[in-house]
């Protein structure tokens, strides 16, 4: 099996029967790939070169393909942002433990909902799915946090957002794809649902867990709205809240900020660009490790019938 998988990873044509059409196809795909890279990389490349260029040239649109009068002043300024390291640590904390909480709640519920035996299964599924289209809005949710005494607590961030229905459905669909013969066999051996879940289904679901885990991690890492409004202590705030503040500041405070001339080394804009780069780095480091789990496959599908 494994060599077949490998062959498939090498591009879909297994053995060496290469027609001209096949080669042309590969070349076209490769060209599309390169174009895609350009389209996606350019804006990011732009952020990088803008973050090291002199701000006046960034503002007047001269920075396009290469940095102008490169300097690292913006990074130095970015690193001086108050609470930067604390918030970086907080972001790591919320992402790491948040994903654990997410996975604990989502996998159990998804597994239960994936079993046709479950009583009121349709009702419970609908209950979850319904929230994707109907949500209460900001103020009622805030009042809920208040009533539970969760304002300004890390617990609010970790447990207030246990399940993303979308991700839970992905997991549920995956569990549904696992051949039921495995479950039946385990039942005959007298295994409980808990054991089947933890010892058969979870180990089998690594790709799904990796994908959904990644989704959760991204959401956790990028989230700013609720952390900003629920947390009032500066020591608990994550990185994105800081970043957001700088971004919004840019529009609000620019009326009174310093004048930019050709001599200025950094401006709020370039500092923001520097911070964006700093904030993306952890995700770029983590992503390739998760990518390898995709190889073994994941199918989310819908209920048959």
């Amino acid at each position: 099996m494994s060599h077949k998988v490998k062959a498939r990873n090498n591009g879909g044509s297994a053995v060496g029967i290469e027609s001209r059409g096949e080669i042309a196809f590969d070349i076209v795909v490769a060209i599309i790939g390169v174009l895609l890279i350009l389209v996606c990389v350019y804006p990011i490349y732009y952020v990088v070169i803008a973050s090291i260029s002199r701000p006046l040239y960034v503002e007047n649109g001269e920075v396009m393909f290469r940095p102008i009068m490169a300097n690292l002043e913006s990074y130095k300024e970015a690193l001086k942002t108050p609470y930067l390291w604390a918030s970086f640590g907080n972001s790591l904390f919320y992402t790491l433990f948040g994903v654990l909480v997410n996975m604990a709640f989502s996998t159990t519920m998804a597994y239960a909902l994936s079993r046709p035996r479950l009583i009121f299964r349709k009702f419970f599924t609908l209950l979850a799915v319904f929230t994707m289209w109907f949500s209460a809005g900001i103020i009622p949710l805030y009042m809920t946090f208040r009533d539970f005494g969760l304002l300004d607590s890390r617990a609010a961030i970790l447990f207030g957002f246990c399940i993303n229905t979308y991700n839970m459905i992905i997991l549920k669909s995956f569990f549904e794809q696992v051949p039921s013969s495995l479950e039946e066999a385990a039942f005959i051996d007298g295994a409980s649902d808990f054991r089947i879940f933890t010892q058969i289904y979870l180990p089998l679901s690594k790709p799904a867990l990796a994908t959904v885990g990644l989704f959760y991690a991204v959401t956790r890492w990028n989230g700013y709205f609720w952390p900003m409004n629920l947390l009032t202590s500066d020591s608990k705030v994550p990185l994105q809240v800081l970043l957001k503040k700088l971004l919004v500041d840019r529009t609000a405070n620019e009326m009174e900020s310093a004048i930019i001339t050709a001599e200025s080394l950094s401006s709020q804009t370039t500092v923001i660009y520097a911070l964006i780069i700093l904030a993306i780095i952890p995700m770029i480091i983590v992503y390739p490790f998760i990518q390898k789990y995709f190889k073994s496959g994941l199918t989310i599908g819908a209920n048959k019938g």
Binding site: G12, T144, C162, S173, G301, N303
Partner: protein, 306 residues
């Protein structure tokens, strides 16, 4: 009849009590953090005052809905919401599928890895920054897009202020930001297709396109259906943040959607009743589309989300 039904219920309950325990933490969470706050939706029926709460606010029945529906912005916001959803459906939804297929079909491993990683990164750049870049890149005097247009003999266009460009600009921006990220699910699904199917096809002499058409696509149809039903609601609930950053008074005619209206009424004017009423309208549209999509998909592909 009733007796046997209740007996079978009891039996099913006993048969699934362990599952119910697994379900419980998630269920409790849904009730506490999704359904309990939902009671706040009754704001739509009050002249709601944040400080006084429901007890201190006047019940106004359907007045808020009336104000929205009879108001001059009603048809325009509905129309724009649906149009933007349509653009998203036609362009932003299929793109990740295509991207996933391209990535899996790619033969050069290094290129493949780079494409996959690079297309995923835009998702990390916050909407405020992306919108700022869009405005920069589209500037008629200094923007790179217009530089290119001029290079090829075209005329620089002030894209941000003409209503006919708003939907394409917004759609392309969303596409750029989300395609790589959304492709992940499809990439993972494509990897799950049984390689034996491809080998059999190869033996039958099927070309690449034929294999994609007859094996790859059918293999991920259930994924596509699920994603479509789940996303259709999201598409209708156009995020107001990016639109607020991109629109101009002159582009209201194509850009003003229910959520921006609701934002103006709620956060800017403090009129929570109307804002919630408009929001409910949006949710109902989403719900109708979702139920319809689910029905259609059940009939056509025999699979559905519920």
């Amino acid at each position: 009849m009733g007796l046997s039904r209740s007996r079978s219920l009891k039996k099913r309950f006993i048969g699934s009590w362990q599952l119910l325990i697994l379900l419980l933490p998630g269920l409790i969470w849904y009730i506490l953090f999704c359904y309990r706050p939902m009671i706040g939706l009754r704001m739509a029926f009050y002249d709601y005052n944040v400080f006084r709460g429901f007890e201190g606010s006047t019940f106004v029945g359907l007045d808020n809905f009336k104000t929205y529906v009879m108001g001059p912005d009603f048809f325009r916001t509905i129309k724009n919401t649906l149009f933007i959803a349509l653009w998203q459906m036609l362009i932003c939804f299929p793109a990740p599928i295509l991207l996933a297929i391209i990535i899996t079909e790619m033969r050069f491993n290094v290129l493949k890895k780079i494409v996959q990683t690079v297309t995923f990164i835009p998702y990390f750049i916050s909407a405020v920054v992306v919108c700022g870049m869009v405005v920069n890149f589209l500037s008629p005097s200094t923007g790179i897009i217009n530089k290119f247009i001029e290079l090829f003999g075209g005329e620089a266009t002030y894209f941000m202020v003409y209503p006919q460009y708003f939907r394409p600009v917004y759609t392309l921006m969303t596409l750029w930001q989300t395609a790589g990220f959304n492709a992940i699910v499809y990439i993972a699904a494509l990897m799950g297709i049984d390689p034996q199917l491809y080998e059999a096809a190869l033996v039958d002499g099927a070309g690449r396109f034929q294999r994609i058409w007859h094996i790859t696509l059918p293999g991920i149809i259930p994924t596509i259906v699920t994603m479509f039903i789940m996303n259709i609601g999201k598409m209708v609930k156009v995020g107001y943040e990016s639109i607020l950053l991109l629109y101009q008074p002159s582009t209201y005619s194509t850009a003003d959607v229910i959520s921006t209206y609701s934002f103006r009424m709620g956060i800017q004017n403090g009129d929570y009743g109307i804002a919630t009423a408009a929001g409910l309208f949006e949710a109902i549209i989403a719900l109708i589309l979702v139920v319809a999509a689910n029905k259609v998909s059940k009939r056509l592909t025999e699979s559905a989300l519920w």
